[in-house]
């Protein structure tokens, strides 16, 4: 639940909460703060303006408006809270049971709820006010008679989702009864949206009560809610504006505070809060000036020099990438290997300029075909002329437009990137489908993304990418969501494109075996730094950095007879990026760490064939 940390980090939440507490306290204590009674008529003191004796003035019968206003607020808030809490109770119980039991009971419940929901809310309330006579009780009954339905639907939906979660399955496997599971495992996890809905239901009920009072169906006189006071004040507003202004202000600011509270709570309890919003872009593309051909000859496709990326987070500055330098030649596949949190995806995104604009600091040089890339790097696709840089992500479904046929998406990319006519683009799209290894091109052309298998989707993404005919592809775990067979097919396709089109590929992966099998060169990333790099074959045959060694040893060995010997486990876990020291980040886990490894940055040691490692131990071994 919302602890003290989010409270501090959101002044809006704190303000609205404090304001509401103030209003509630005044509504509770208000009548005791004044010597007057709300019903005491004093015809010698009528329509007095706010003053010392009567802070809010008096009304036409000389009653003190201060006590009446806070007494009215108490009635209004009581109706609001009571209605909302009854809605909550009914909603939690009925919605929770329907969602948890599911099946036929759920269907029956939902259908009957939909019928009830068809009756206009306000009609029910009006009808009950007429039948039961106006009063607090009939108001609450009227409001809750159908008012619980939205809450029940919300709870049902949330419970429905939560009961499929693994931890609920685990609790079932643990032999726990349905009520314990519902109370301990499901309900606590659906409370966030329910809490938000609650904070929004209260002002709704308060407002409805005010409206009913305005049309004469509120609490009966001489008791007065805020709505009654506003109605009375409105009549005299020309001569005595404060009689309207004061209760109206109390009502409006209370409603506003509740809504603000609900809004900030919703933002705060959203699990995606703080993460960059998902972007609809399939491919980031760079606006690059035409480069004369002689200038690009011989130059590496991509050069990073001392690239650094830091994120500003509530916990402080997070160094995600620390002084990374690398080069990529045309027709080469460079694998960027690292564990989660090593910064490999951040590096890929920083090249394409896909990092969140807010809170990320990028420094260093990034040369693409010898030209420096500058932010902002993204522009609308149709302005680009010839995009040369493309990016493919892990989840192909997120990269495709779900409402557009696969072929059309490829054709569209062709039309905008190569200025083809629609007919020519269609032919070319079919051709590209063939190139990425789709067999039934026509069928796939007219299929929507959800109708295709994971592997086929990723192929369509590759076809879109090819339509843009980039010279550099950044592939961020392009095969991780796929099974081994499809994985191999996709990588075989990339290898083919590499040779036939001279495509340079930056292949970001956590899978060492894939890097070993397919990449020409490999860079190993640990805690945002490259610790070792070199030609794939060399690096895997003769790893030098203790981290690379440990990582390779962690892959189960297949020839060992004793399963215990087949496994080597690196001790510890990757470091907390906030508390990195000056030296080698791997030192705390390193079996050969020297005492000074933690304090001094490790030196780069160059071995043969462009094989380099950054380690004191490697350097010392070389000197021996």
């Amino acid at each position: 639940m919302a602890g003290s940390r989010p409270l501090k980090s959101s002044p809006l939440l704190l303000t609205s909460l404090l304001f509401l507490i103030g209003i509630l306290t005044l509504a509770m204590l208000g009548p005791w703060l004044s010597p007057f009674s709300p019903y005491e008529i004093d015809l010698t003191q009528t329509n007095l303006p706010p003053g010392l004796a009567h802070p809010f003035g008096t009304d036409a019968l000389g009653r003190d408006l201060f006590v009446r206003a806070w007494g009215g607020a108490r009635i209004s808030l009581f109706v609001g809270f009571a209605a909302a809490l009854i809605d909550l109770g009914l909603g939690l119980m009925l919605g929770g049971l329907a969602g948890y039991i599911g099946g036929k009971w759920d269907t029956a419940f939902m259908r009957s709820v939909e019928v009830l929901y068809g009756i206009p809310y306000i009609m029910v309330v009006l009808l009950l006010a007429v039948i039961l006579g106006p009063g607090v009780f009939s108001l609450i009954v009227g409001m809750t008679l159908t008012g619980w339905i939205p809450m029940a639907r919300l709870v049902r939906g949330e419970v429905f989702r939560a009961k499929e979660e693994d931890f609920v399955l685990a609790a079932t496997a643990m032999g726990q009864g349905p009520f314990r599971i519902l109370l301990w495992h499901i309900l606590p996890n659906v409370m966030s949206p329910v809490l938000v809905a609650l904070t929004l239901t209260i002002p709704q009920a308060v407002f409805l009560e005010a409206f009913l009072a305005f049309i004469g169906l509120g609490v009966p006189l001489p008791r007065a809610s805020l709505g009654t006071l506003i109605t009375e004040g409105a009549r005299e507003s020309w001569y005595y504006p404060w009689q309207l202004f004061i209760p109206a202000t109390i009502l409006c600011s209370t409603l506003l505070a509740f809504n603000t509270l609900g809004d900030t709570l919703r933002d705060m309890l959203d699990p995606k809060r703080g993460e960059p919003a998902p972007r609809p872009l399939v491919r980031g593309s760079v606006n690059i000036p035409e480069i004369p051909p002689e200038k690009t000859l011989g130059a590496p496709l991509l050069t990073l020099e001392q690239a650094c990326v830091r994120f500003l987070t509530p916990r402080g500055e997070l160094p995600a990438i620390r002084e990374v330098s690398l080069t990529l030649q045309p027709g080469e596949m460079l694998a960027l290997v690292g564990e989660s949190g090593s910064g490999k995806s951040t590096l890929g995104r920083s090249i394409v300029g896909l990092l969140p604009k807010k809170g990320s600091l990028v420094s260093g040089k990034c040369l693409f075909m010898g030209q420096e890339l500058r932010l902002p790097r993204l522009g609308p696709l149709d302005q680009l002329g010839k995009p040369k840089l493309a990016m493919v992500f892990q989840n192909p479904l997120g990269s495709l437009n779900p409402t557009m046929q696969a072929g059309k998406q490829v054709a569209e990319a062709l039309v905008s990137a190569r200025m083809l006519s629609w007919a020519a683009a269609k032919d070319e799209a079919l051709h590209l489908f063939k190139e990425v290894g789709i067999q039934n091109q026509r069928r796939c052309f007219f299929a929507y993304p959800h109708e295709l298998s994971g592997g086929m989707r990723q192929r369509v993404v590759f076809a879109v990418m090819l339509a843009l005919s980039p010279s550099l592809l950044i592939a961020d775990e392009p095969t991780t969501a796929l099974d081994v067979a499809t994985q191999a097919r996709i990588l075989a396709l990339l290898t083919k494109l590499k040779t036939t089109r001279g495509l340079g590929v930056l292949f970001i992966t956590h899978n060492l075996a894939l890097a070993k099998g397919w990449a020409d060169r490999v860079s190993v990333l640990y805690a945002g730094e490259i610790v070792e790099e070199g030609p794939s074959r060399r690096l895997f045959q003769d790893p030098r950095h203790p981290y690379t060694k440990g990582l390779l040893d962690s892959i189960p060995k297949l020839d060992a007879d004793n399963p215990d010997n087949a496994l080597f486990a690196l001790p510890g876990s990757p470091p907390d990026p906030y508390t990195l020291h000056k030296g080698c980040a791997f030192a705390p886990r390193c079996p050969v760490a020297r005492p000074y490894c933690k304090d001094e940055p490790a030196p780069w040691v160059t071995l043969e064939d462009g094989h380099r490692a950054r380690c004191f131990a490697v350097k010392e071994a070389l000197l021996l």
Binding site: I438, V484, G550, L551, S554, L567
Partner: protein, 324 residues
């Protein structure tokens, strides 16, 4: 159960699956068979590796054994008793003995519950009463899986992926089970952490005499851990053999393709022609081998009947036409 998979050895059987089928009826799309007539037996004390691609039905099978999903056909026996006819105390007893560890430890733990409480729930189920005794057992379990008792007070989001998977293991062990379904327990973890968890699994099995059903798509991991391996393809068991035999001499063309394509097993064979990808899963009107469209050496007979498991060599079963 069918003759083909009846155990030849005289080890006691712990779990027996007899002709299990599971059909799903998703809303708005045609129904499909996730599992078709799967029969197999798990012996006491062994690790049975279940391999298959995503969508092959391997997780569904694990859930059916645990009675977390019900089959459309067939029976599951645990310790000789029909799992789906268990009621009351007997069901609770089964829940105690058969536990599960899921793929994503983050999703498998209640985010609003301290991890110690999660483990304690199982301890209570195991029959230990009294706060003090329960706490001691929780501490003992946490230490057993390589955590500290102080971790009990933390919430899941305060632990790393590897530590969370250890908590899940501690929870699964809390009612003192004899059988664990491990549903891809390491595939969401980093390589260096994966090895730690696999070592832990090996140690726990040895110390506690557990039986594992190890479900994974990672052949290398399966090979290290398993005594016997079953290969699932589109809901059918296509091969079942002792781990060594299967990896040394795979018989089914699908197993061979899997081994050839799996990066861990594959060395510089970039020239391997990859079988084409199946593009449609339309249900066939007449029975034929599900692997037929991808098979490199199909026979005429494969088009007219679904091959059944038969014993090609002792203990090595395969569902493929014997080559002439």
């Amino acid at each position: 159960m069918k003759e083909a998979t009846r155990p030849k050895e005289h080890l006691p059987q712990l779990v027996v699956l007899d002709d299990i089928s599971k059909r799903f009826y998703p809303q708005g799309s045609p129904s499909f068979e996730a599992l078709s007539s799967v029969s197999l037996a798990l012996y006491q004390g062994e690790t049975f590796g279940l391999v298959g691609e995503s969508g092959s039905g391997k997780s569904t099978l694990g859930r059916i054994i645990l009675r977390l999903a019900s089959p459309t056909g067939g029976k599951v026996y645990f310790d000789g008793r029909d799992v789906f006819s268990l009621r009351g105390r007997a069901l609770l007893d089964f829940r105690k003995k058969a536990q599960v560890v899921f793929q994503d430890p983050k999703a498998a733990l209640n985010p609003r519950m301290r991890v110690g409480t999660a483990v304690e729930e199982g301890v209570a189920l195991g029959g230990i009463a009294g706060t003090r005794a329960k706490n001691e057992r929780v501490d003992e379990l946490l230490e057993h899986v390589g955590l500290q008792p102080s971790h009990a007070k933390l919430f899941p989001h305060e632990l790393s992926g590897g530590q969370l998977q250890r908590v899940c293991l501690a929870r699964a062990l809390s009612p003192s089970p004899k059988f664990l379904v491990l549903d891809e327990p390491t595939s969401s973890l980093d390589v260096s952490i994966q090895a730690q968890i696999l070592k832990l699994l090996l140690r726990l099995k040895r110390e506690l005499g557990l039986t594992y059903l190890f479900i994974s798509h990672d052949l290398a991991v399966v090979r290290v851990l398993s005594d016997r391996v079953g290969v699932l393809y589109k809901g059918r068991l296509v091969e079942l053999a002792p781990a060594k035999a299967l990896f040394k001499e795979p018989l089914h063309p699908y197993t061979r393709a899997l081994l050839a394509l799996s990066p861990e097993f594959w060395d510089a064979s970039r020239t391997t022609t990859l079988p084409a990808e199946s593009e449609g899963d339309a249900e066939k009107t007449h029975p034929e081998c599900a692997y037929l469209p991808l098979c490199e050496e199909p026979l005429e007979a494969c088009k007219s009947r679904i091959p059944e498991l038969h014993e090609a060599s002792p203990g090595h079963f395969v569902a493929c036409q014997p080559k002439a």
